[in-house]
């Protein structure tokens, strides 16, 4: 690569050298005198076939140029292809740890268990932000540098490209026969006729042409550069869209029992996450009631129990007082409302439990959602009776039950309380009973699925063991010492929904489509030049020369040149004497590549 060759901004391209590599021995004295001037045309002929930046040589700036010099050097480095390459590579390597080590924003529970399993690594991993790779300082640094580099690269390239579009195809290099594809013949037409035919032919193939002295220069495939620039701009658009989405997004989860409703306000959510710039007033007003939930499962075969279909039927109304409409929400088919989407995430059961006090008065009756622990929906939860219970002696107390629910029990004597199937084939509810204080009055929010037993006493059976019982549907258990009864009244279903707002996804999609289109243009379109030269030879017969130069070697270029030559040849056929000459030109082997 000739680094001194500043006339050609395209030293990264192999074809540039093609036009400038003269073998000294071959040129005659007279020729070499003219060559200084001609070198410039040669370089220009191959130049600017792309807007790819110059390859800077490594090493610091010249001595003693101070801060500005360094800054300039740094900027040139940052926006060079080589650094872009290195940053890209770092980006791909940097993304890897996040797939091997659990991430906080994906699964916080897994992070906790990883920390438990690898205690000695925790400090190092936390220092390196390995649990938050994609928002870590170092990962952000890589992609921000890359995008700065990208902008620093695109802006000058775009100007250069505009310049190229305004300019005309450059003139032919001296020796057309040194170009990757070349052809020549002699014809009886005059040079002017040939050139004007050539221009028509080239224009017919949508080349931009420029008539010069004794030659036509033509160029085609500018869309390649345009595509490349569009692609890189689209990357920036996508990043902006992504960042926009991160700052303004919101995501809330809500468990809805069948028959109950949800309305879209912050207080209604079980959990809610949002980006830094999110405003709760942006939540679009809507509400829905869960009317029905259907789940079907594979009943037989090795994948027995695998879910096949989930469907939630809701009555939905938009706005504060919209008209109710029936809608369905499925796993892949969210409900879309005014920029928000309601997704069906999960589902489970809620045993309906009623509790009576020692006098037989029903003081609690409710559907208590329990959380699935495995694919067969073995679920756990807690029944908390906070109000209205007085024990035999009239002392006010609270009752609590640890609950394990299985939709399909393995059968008595099987020794397992794990569910065998996710549907309700043989539902059982196992309750461990406690009394005392639930600790809910302290004002601190409490996990409704977990019983805090530190201020509670277990009920004891006759043998002094923790009192517990497994209930069938409709069965009642009697608490020891006449403390009351608990009845497994029925089973309700629930579904969890997630309501998300992700602004910027439209922009991201537009960017993505532009990226693909630009990429296709950039990779599939060849930018190439074709020159036709026609001069009167010594014997008065016109010599036609055609040659082509592409950004890279291409099998299509010779093919295209051949076709153009053939068309031109029809209008400027070979002079009889030239026939013999073309015939001897034997080619040892076939087309390659």
């Amino acid at each position: 690569m000739s680094t001194t060759d500043k006339a050609s901004p395209e030293t990264s391209d192999e074809t540039t050298d093609e036009t400038t590599d003269e073998t000294p021995g071959e040129t005659s004295e007279a020729e070499s005198r003219a060559s200084a001037a001609a070198d410039a045309t040669d370089a220009a002929a191959g130049a600017q076939l792309s807007t790819a930046p110059l390859e800077d040589s490594p090493g610091g700036p010249a001595v003693g140029i101070g801060v500005i010099g360094w800054a300039r050097w740094f900027w040139r480095q940052l926006t060079s292809m080589r650094v872009a390459l290195i940053l890209l590579f770092l980006l791909s390597l940097g993304a890897i740890p996040g797939s091997l080590i659990p991430q906080n924003n994906v699964d916080a529970l897994k992070v906790a268990s990883w920390k438990r399993d690898n205690p000695s690594w925790v400090t190092v991993a936390e220092k390196l932000q390995l649990f938050d790779v994609y928002s870590s300082v170092w990962f952000s640094a890589i992609y921000l540098l890359l995008f700065i580099s990208l902008i620093g690269c695109i802006v000058p390239r775009s100007w250069q490209f505009v310049g190229q579009l305004r300019g005309r195809p450059p003139g032919a290099p001296r020796r057309l026969d040194r170009l990757p594809a070349h052809t020549t013949w002699r014809t009886e037409k005059t040079p002017d006729e040939v050139l004007s035919y050539a221009r028509t032919v080239l224009r017919g193939s949508r080349f931009r042409t420029e008539l010069g002295k004794g030659q036509v220069a033509a160029e085609k495939g500018y869309l390649r550069e345009a595509g490349n620039l569009i692609f890189h701009v689209a990357l920036i658009v996508m990043l902006v869209a992504f960042a926009w989405g991160q700052y303004f997004k919101s995501e809330g989860g809500k468990l809805v029992l069948r028959g109950s409703g949800f309305s879209n306000t912050l207080t209604q959510y079980d959990d809610f996450k949002s980006g830094g710039l999110f405003d709760p007033d942006d939540l679009p007003p809507f509400s829905f009631t869960l009317d029905r939930f259907d789940a079907t499962y594979e009943m037989t075969g090795p994948q027995r129990g695998t879910p096949r279909d989930f469907k939630a039927y809701v009555t939905f109304s938009e706005g504060a007082h919209g008209t109710p409409q029936k809608r369905e929400i499925q796993v892949n088919k969210p409900l879309e409302v005014d920029g928000s989407k309601v997704y069906l995430l999960g589902h489970g059961y809620a045993p309906i439990v009623s509790v009576t006090d020692p006098t037989g008065k029903v003081i609690f009756k409710d559907a208590v959602p329990v959380l699935p622990q495995d694919a067969n929906l073995t679920s756990t939860g807690a029944v908390k009776v906070t109000d209205g219970y007085k024990d035999k002696d009239g002392k006010t107390e609270q009752l609590g039950f640890n609950a394990v629910f299985v939709p399909t029990f393995a059968g008595e004597g099987k020794g397992t309380m794990f569910s065998q199937f996710p549907a309700l084939l043989m539902p059982r509810l196992m309750l461990n009973a406690f009394h005392g204080s639930l600790g809910v009055d302290s004002g601190l929010p409490q996990n409704v699925y977990v019983l805090k037993t530190d201020k509670m006493e277990p009920f004891k059976d006759e043998s002094g063991q923790q009192f517990k019982q497994k209930l069938e549907l409709g069965q009642t258990m009697t608490l020891p010492n006449g403390a009351g009864t608990v009845k497994f009244e029925g089973i309700e279903r629930w579904a969890t929904f997630s309501v998300t707002q992700q602004p910027g996804s439209g922009l991201a999609l537009a960017g993505a489509i532009a990226a693909i289109a630009g990429l296709a243009g950039s990779l599939f379109i060849q930018r190439r030049r074709i020159w036709v030269r026609a001069v009167t030879g010594k014997d008065g017969v016109t010599v036609v020369e055609m040659a082509g130069l592409g950004r890279s070697e291409s099998t299509r270029l010779p093919q295209e040149l051949a076709e153009l030559a053939a068309t031109l040849h029809q209008q400027a056929p070979s002079a009889p004497a030239a026939l013999a000459e073309t015939r001897v030109e034997e080619t040892p082997e076939g087309e390659r590549g």
């Binding site: 994948q303 693909i516 070697e553």
Partner: protein, 365 residues
């Protein structure tokens, strides 16, 4: 599903299994035919590469390969002679060596076995494709629900792409032996470790995006594989050529095999073209996946392991394409990047599906 239909479907699933096993048998035969092709081909004594490399020094790098222009006259007569002939020249910095003669080494017998091998491969392809279709019919959905199904589709597509290139008269027969060997490996792994009975899909996969996203993913993988095979052979052939250039004599076996491959420049170009051609489709695959994830999980990008590795693969290929455009990074370094990128793809397929758990838990193994 009625019991009757279920039985019919089980029959189809059985048929699919028979077809897959049969295709393995035919691929096996193709494998032996290719071995025969290479063996007979080794008897040829062409040594064109060495000749070209040593000869090139004196004659200069100009070599001519001409697509002769053939234009039919109005009367239908072919006029060749009075057409201009295009001469081509390869760029500076590229060794000017001709492509090797292929596995058969120009020997008649080798060529015969090569043709037999290609025919057998085509037959095996049809049988295997039948297996994939039967599998799809047995479950009445796209046959891409688990790793077994991915694997059988993957090799079918790879062989299909190879046969298409052959049909387009591209010089790719050198790929035959490697391809058939890896297809056997892929199918072997599929039927022994990855096998899953045909079955329905989990709800998250009920989407037309399954057709779009998964089919393009498999297609990209299969074609990237061909590109990677080209890159590996390029590395071998390139070091062989530079050995020759440096005046050393490579080992006999090495010479015999590498001599018959296309030139390093051709292999490099082949691998680049393949990778560059699929890259936009791979970009599309990832975007389609993101759209689907947006529908199914409520976020279009969540750094799930599968997503991470698709991204890594994508960036690695982007890196490779940049490397090709950057001076000093062409050739071997670029080829290493291409292989790194493909290794990421493979890891994303086997490693992530089996070893890392994420939302893409459809490995079914």
């Amino acid at each position: 599903m009625t019991p009757l239909a279920a039985a019919a479907n089980e029959n189809l699933a059985e048929i699919s299994n028979y077809l897959i096993y049969s295709s393995m048998a035919v691929y096996m035969l193709a494998f032996f035919a290719h071995i025969a092709e290479w063996t007979f081909g080794s008897r040829s004594k062409v040594a064109r590469t060495a000749a070209a490399l040593t000869g090139a020094k004196e004659t200069g790098a100009a070599r001519a390969a001409a697509p002769a222009v053939q234009v039919r006259g109005k009367a239908g007569a072919t006029a060749v002679l009075d057409q201009p002939k295009v001469t081509t020249r390869s760029a500076a910095g590229i060794r000017d060596v001709p492509d090797g003669p292929g596995a058969a080494g120009g020997t008649v017998q080798g060529d015969l076995y090569g043709r037999i091998a290609v025919s057998l491969t085509a037959l095996a392809f049809l049988v295997e494709a039948g297996g994939v279709v039967a599998r799809a019919l047995s479950v009445q959905r796209a046959p891409w629900g688990n790793m077994y199904e991915f694997s059988i589709t993957f090799s079918t597509v790879a062989v299909g792409a190879y046969l298409v290139l052959l049909a387009l008269k591209k010089n790719v027969r050198w790929l035959g032996l490697i391809l058939v060997t890896t297809v056997l490996l892929d199918l072997g792994i599929a039927v022994t470790w990855l096998y899953t009975d045909s079955d329905q899909l989990v709800p998250a996969l009920h989407s037309y995006w399954l057709w779009i996203h998964v089919s393009t993913a498999i297609f990209c993988g299969a074609v990237f594989y061909i590109g990677a095979a080209g890159a590996v052979l390029y590395l071998f052939r390139d070091s062989y050529e530079s050995q020759l250039e440096a005046g050393r004599t490579p080992g006999k076996f090495r010479t015999s095999v590498l001599e018959r491959l296309p030139s390093a420049a051709s292999l490099d170009k082949f691998s680049y073209r393949i990778n560059a051609a699929v890259f936009p489709l791979w970009t599309f695959t990832i975007i389609a996946g993101a759209i689907w994830a947006g529908d199914a999980w409520g976020r279009y990008w969540g750094w799930d392991p599968k997503e991470v590795w698709s991204f890594v693969t994508w960036v690695a290929y982007a890196c490779y394409l940049h490397a090709r455009a950057t001076a000093g990074w062409k050739g071997r370094k670029a080829a290493y990047l291409a292989l790194f990128a493909f290794a990421c793809w493979i890891w994303n397929y086997y490693g992530v599906n089996i070893l890392l758990s994420g939302k893409h838990s459809y490995a079914g193994v």
